[in-house]
């Protein structure tokens, strides 16, 4: 790798996709062929597991059909197996495996990445080439991901999050963990330099030393929050999903047993789906630890697939605290954050949604501590009183503007919780009847404001006031306030936003690490 300074490269216009493509191709052609690096050879083999999973699923469904037709036929099928059949099946499996390995090798040869002065480049594709380019100043966060098999092999992949609204995360992998570590620190350093507008050089030095294990690196650090397994299990059991499922199952099973109906395999499959969803929750969040590091809040979690996500607090647009009804007695809370570009992911939107939850369950004190690390000040004097009101208060309150009486026609139950406050630093909305919710958005981050009124609201003199936040699973929408209130909020929030954007109210990462005491 050679040292190169950032050339005076012309910034591609963000709003013109065709010229971005051209610019990208141009930039790509200037990268020397020797700079491209390949991934670990196991990469395609492990990514082809989907082929095997599909085969297994097909086999399972055939078996299911056979079983439903009756066990005598199964027995017939088993006795019908001859040596020739075994040989044919084995030969087929061998041929398929060879084909998979050949395909893997071809795929692997075409995959490469490079850290160039213009950004991170990735290319792949056997028949049609794909070239992806993330500019340094657009990188939002960098995350290390390790599945169970790569973990055993000392491999991992690195996920680069950019704020693009159409693209997905760029995933580089698999690579040796030492290399991952070197890449990660390099990417974080350059990305922050590029955002600050200072000069930087790209130099991916060879990593030395023993096999890098993220757990070792964090062993010395004291986690800011650690999720006990018991609490995670408890929160899942009290989540309501399980109760609903049990209720539904009982509703199906009881008549079946009483009316002497047949046993359905569909039911088993449905139950399996629920178990899989619950397991997914458990697997994702098992052993979750939050660290405060110089780069931001680091979230490490997962049982079979361990992910490490570093979130620069500057990039957080809003925070939501949520309490399902059954958690009320324990006073547990869930903390969700909103980051630009966090929802768009190769995985389904569901997995992205769960990843935005950085504290799946914690006590009120834990949740408020975390909130404090993200938001320096909520702009009120009496914090205790404010958060009592915000989290569990109902009715008219010292801090929150209440809805007018006419809102009771539209919101008979929710009205007492529905309240909002615009402080000098944040816009907070508390909401929810069974599930309590508090959404805190920062003035400097919204993309637009919205006021609306439907026909029924118009009759009652009500309206809805909304902050348009970046795409994600967080919304900030306060419905059924009086129309005068709505205009008041809108005018006030316009001023707050104008001011916040002008002074760039967010603290820098250095200020942040000073404040939370990790500098």
């Amino acid at each position: 790798m050679t040292d190169r300074n950032m050339p005076p490269e012309e910034a591609a216009p963000v709003n013109d996709s065709s010229s971005v493509d051209e610019a990208m191709a141009q930039v790509a052609s200037t990268i020397p062929e020797g700079d491209w690096s390949r991934f670990h050879w196991a990469t395609p083999l492990l990514s082809l597991w989907k082929v095997w999973a599909a085969l297994a699923a097909a086999a399972f469904s055939i078996l299911l059909q056979v079983a439903e037709e009756g066990f005598s036929e199964v027995w017939q099928a088993i006795t019908g197996i001859t040596t020739t059949w075994v040989l044919i099946v084995a030969g087929g499996a061998l041929a398929l495996s060879l084909l998979v390995i050949l395909m893997s090798w071809l795929v692997w040869r075409k995959q490469a990445y490079v850290l160039a002065p213009s950004g991170v480049h990735y290319r792949s594709g056997i028949f049609s080439g794909t070239h992806r380019h993330v500019r340094w100043d657009r990188i939002q966060s960098v995350e290390i991901k390790q599945g169970i098999i790569p973990r055993l092999l000392g491999l991992g992949s690195i996920m680069i999050d950019s704020a693009s609204s159409s693209g997905s995360n760029l995933s580089l992998g698999l690579l040796k963990m030492n290399e991952i570590q070197a890449l990660r620190s390099q990417i974080l350093t350059i990305a922050s330099a590029a955002r600050a507008g200072t000069e930087f050089s790209v130099d991916r030095g060879e990593s030395v030393g023993d096999l890098y294990d993220p757990d070792d690196a964090y062993a010395a650090e004291k986690p800011f929050y650690q999720l006990p397994t018991g609490r995670l299990v408890g929160s899942i059991l009290l989540s309501g999903i399980l109760l609903t499922t049990l209720g539904a199952l009982a509703a199906v099973l009881v008549p079946l047993i009483w009316l002497d109906g047949g046993f359905s395999f569909g039911l088993v499959v449905a139950a399996g789906g629920t178990v899989a969803a619950l397991w997914g929750q458990f697997n994702l969040n098992h052993g979750l630890k939050l660290f405060l590091t110089r780069d931001g809040i680091r979230v490490r979690r997962g049982l079979t697939t361990t992910t490490t996500q570093t979130i620069p607090p500057r990039r957080i647009h809003a925070v939501t605290l949520e309490q399902p009804f059954l958690w009320r007695r324990k006073d547990w809370w869930k903390v969700k954050i909103l980051i630009a570009g966090s929802v768009i992911d190769e995985d389904s939107i569901n997995s992205a949604m769960t990843r935005s939850t950085i504290m799946p369950v914690g006590t009120r004190a834990d949740a408020l501590d975390l909130l404090w690390t993200i938001i320096p000040s909520v702009g009120v004097d009496d914090l205790g009183g404010f958060f009592d009101d915000a989290l569990s208060g109902t009715g008219p309150s010292r801090f929150f503007a209440p809805t007018p009486p006419s809102a009771r026609f539209l919101d008979p139950f929710r009205r007492r919780r529905n309240g909002l406050v615009l402080t000098s630093t944040v816009a907070a909305h508390r909401d929810g009847w069974l599930t309590r919710r508090l959404t805190v958005a920062l003035h400097g981050h919204w993309q637009g404001l919205k006021a609306s009124q439907g026909p029924v609201q118009a009759r009652l003199g009500l309206g809805t006031f909304e902050l348009s936040l970046v795409a994600g699973d967080t919304t900030w929408s306060a419905s059924n306030f009086s129309i005068d209130q709505v205009w008041g909020f809108l005018s006030e929030e316009r001023q707050h936003g104008l001011h916040a954007r002008a002074v760039n109210d967010r603290e820098s990462i250095e200020q942040w690490s000073q404040r939370v005491g990790v500098a």
Binding site: A163, Q447, G448, S452, Q453, R494, R501
Partner: protein
Amino acid sequence: MTVATPLAPGITFTRISTDHAKVRALVGAFWFVPVAVILIIAAVAWSSLLWLIISLAAVLVLILSVTAVKVRAVYYTGYHETDEELLVCRGIMFRRLDVVPYGRMQEVKVEDGPLLRGYGLASITMETASATADAKIPGVPRAEADRLRRRLTELGTTKMEGL
């Protein structure tokens, strides 16, 4: 040619071209006519098919009322440029007011279909990084759309702000 909305008292908005109402009426007719033809054929040819006739009639009523609401909304749609933000008000039955700061603009889109072009109109959309904040001004004269696009692009780049 100005509009006001109870959502933003004291602000006068520039109304979009009323020709846009004709465009919307034509779009409504585009859906209305074939359904009406099928309804007539069905009623004449198969007089026993009661449910087909009822459902077609329901669809007709739906198309008519939606078109009426959309056409009427044109007369209450307007935009207002401040030094910092673009304000767009829309609708009368479902009123909406969008406020988008110029600095939040990611992309300006000017679109015209054959119908819009026929009346010399275009619609202009200012897109942001939010899925819900999109200040769309439907049906302004082409020259005005181009002026807006230039102005928004210019203001958007000078006031370019990070997310």
